[in-house]
Symmetry: C2
Subunit: 390 residues, 2 copies
């Protein structure tokens, strides 16, 4: 396996994008990444596309073909295009498959893109489509949707570790603050702890502001063999680890639902692959589909000991300028969560940070960053470690 680098990034605005079609979003992000990389269409060896539920949200499957076609890569270049899906981790999977195809020597230049167009259907349909990330026969049919599943995780975390609603809210407040500095973010307004605690209860103890929104959006990256990266850019970002792990799809099969085994294992595999420890990571984009998910993630990835995530968040240790900045992009909460795009957007954010182009969100002296993308309630986790240094 050979070294791989990211040389191009692109992202649409995230939000309710009613004047953009599904394919428009993909092509806009893809073309941005290709232009950023300075590559030609003829150089692209393959395309990996992350999307959770085009079938439900826009009645479209065969999404690799569609995107290759509308990006101008199908009719004469016949570029292989492969859609991958692992619910909300679909983007992370697309990135990992793109990295593996270059690392293997099979391909030299690969585009990984992710998109979801979620606002063309009503909220009931969207909620049910998202519930398809859980076990339909054991969770969905019983009425469990994702706020309910993560509410159970939050309840047990509170019971075992004394985590408070205020601590959960602190993750949301921080991510909204970071989102105010991110031009692509869906929400760019400051909120307070009271905003969260006074918002509607969705599934006790999770309020509306504990939950990531329904969003449209797309993001893309171009990965190449590290040996040719400097042909295209002076600031390649190197891939030090790309790992994936499965966990049980349902909560009821887990010994302890406050830990996502898939996150723990994908993280451990990533540290091993990179030869690093949590202390080597300068910032991390974690999968905060709910505030409790961020708390669990920063514990499961080894940044804080189990049960200490709420306290650390409330104390500002995960803010920009804190011990380990978490979700400088605004995270899923403020940036928005077009599910197929999220895993790629995380890599776009870390790449911006490592290039030093993150504007007001910039972490000074950032050298190494991590992304953490989860499918469902932890059936899949994908972790990447990216670095300025090869």
């Amino acid at each position: 396996m050979r070294d791989v680098a990211i040389i191009g990034i692109g992202c649409t605005k995230f939000g309710e994008l009613w004047n953009h079609s599904f394919r428009d979003l993909f092509v806009e992000a893809g073309v941005s990444a290709i232009e950023d990389a300075g590559i030609q269409g003829e150089e692209i060896d393959s395309l990996y596309v992350g999307n959770m539920s085009g079938g439900r949200f826009v009645e479209q499957e065969h999404i690799g073909s569609l995107i290759a076609d509308y990006a101008g890569l199908a009719s004469t270049l016949n570029v292989p295009a492969t859609r991958v899906e692992a619910a909300c981790a679909s983007g992370g999977l697309a990135l990992r498959q793109a990295i593996l195809s270059v690392a293997s020597g099979h391909d030299n230049v690969v585009v990984a893109a992710g998109a979801e167009k979620m606002t063309d259907v009503g909220m009931d349909t969207a909620t049910d489509a998202l519930a398809a990330a859980a076990d339909r026969e054991w969770e969905g049919i019983m009425g469990a949707t994702f706020p309910g599943l993560y509410a159970m995780i939050a309840r047990l975390h509170m019971h075992k570790y004394g985590t408070t609603s205020e601590q959960l809210a602190a993750a949301s407040v921080k991510n909204h603050h970071n989102g105010t500095m991110n031009p692509i973010a869906q929400f760019r307004n400051e909120i307070t702890i009271d905003t969260v605690l006074n918002s509607n209860m969705v599934a006790d103890p999770l309020h509306m502001f504990d939950c990531s929104p329904i969003s449209d959006g797309s993001s893309a990256v171009v990965v190449v063999a590290a040996d040719i990266a400097h042909k295209y850019t002076d600031t390649p970002v190197y891939v030090k680890a790309a790992t994936q792990a499965s966990g049980t799809i349902s909560l009821h099969d887990r010994a302890d639902i406050t830990t996502l085994d898939a996150s723990v294992v994908a993280g451990q595999r990533a540290y091993k692959m990179a030869g690093m420890t949590p202390d080597d990571i300068d910032m991390v984009e974690v999968h905060d589909c709910f505030t409790i998910a961020e708390i669990c993630a920063i514990e499961d990835l080894g940044f804080f000991k189990k049960g200490d995530g709420g306290r650390a968040t409330e104390a500002g240790e995960t803010a920009i300028g804190g011990r380990i900045p978490v979700n400088t992009s605004g995270g899923l909460k403020a940036c928005g969560h077009p599910v197929g795009a999220t895993g790629i957007k995380q890599a776009v954010e870390i790449t911006e940070q490592l290039r030093g182009t993150a504007g007001k969100r910039q972490i000074n002296g950032a050298e190494v960053g991590m992304t953490h993308n989860v499918g469902g309630s932890g059936g899949t986790a994908v972790v990447h470690i990216l670095s300025r240094n090869r």
Copy 2:
């Protein structure tokens, strides 16, 4: 890239399997393949899963996680599981990704499985779900479903090359005959040319018996590094090529709709990769979602010149014992077409033939076989060449 071999195969019965759930099918095929290979769960490095539209057919996404979990590979082994989708080519894609992951050296033992559970919904829903393989905004919304799209291809093929309804029917009659000898086939009855011509017209000139059915089913293979194949089996089947190409997703963007560019290019790439020509292939499983699709495929893959496929089929040149046996399994027409499973089932059939275990369907002296799996009307094509010899 290193050599790869198939050491295990498994397949459920194809048909209307109302007493089997979606996950049951996957696990049954997967366990069969694992037992056939004689491997342990602990040896499995990763899992690739092909499925077109679990979201529409069984309201389930996150299918890699689900299958890893129910196969016992998630809770302690945390085996990465990746679902891939390219409509009816989803199975072929899963196989190709599994092969690439071993060829790259990243993995040593990988399971590729495909499944679709299509009969739990009504025919209207199934037809609309399948139409999501075409361009929803330019074909589906205009009322075009797949019989209509392939009917247009058939009409032009008739007009340009004098292909007749009887010639199309001959493909169906042959495939039904082959299906009578295949224990997993959905339809195991002989039919005649008149059966086809007297069946209901679905989309002129395609009759019901020109069309593959709606099916449930699953199939799986185990692939390993060729260097370790003999640890497990005396009859490994070697992968000589695994290629994929995109074409335009819509018919209206093509210069000539009687040719699927994706098939042509994927075929050419496969011959080049294997260092072979069509003359080296002893039998081929092609994607006969409709009889006209089989005619186009045997031309596009270079077995007959463009326009000659109908005549050759009617003359028996593609029958068992003919010049190039096509669809000895019964094809999609008689074997059934659970769309995510089909691409893997094709490899299962070729493996049976190369092992010499195809029973009454056996091609004597078979050394090299090909599979050809198409997504939609040719937006994606995946071709594999398999051989008894390394």
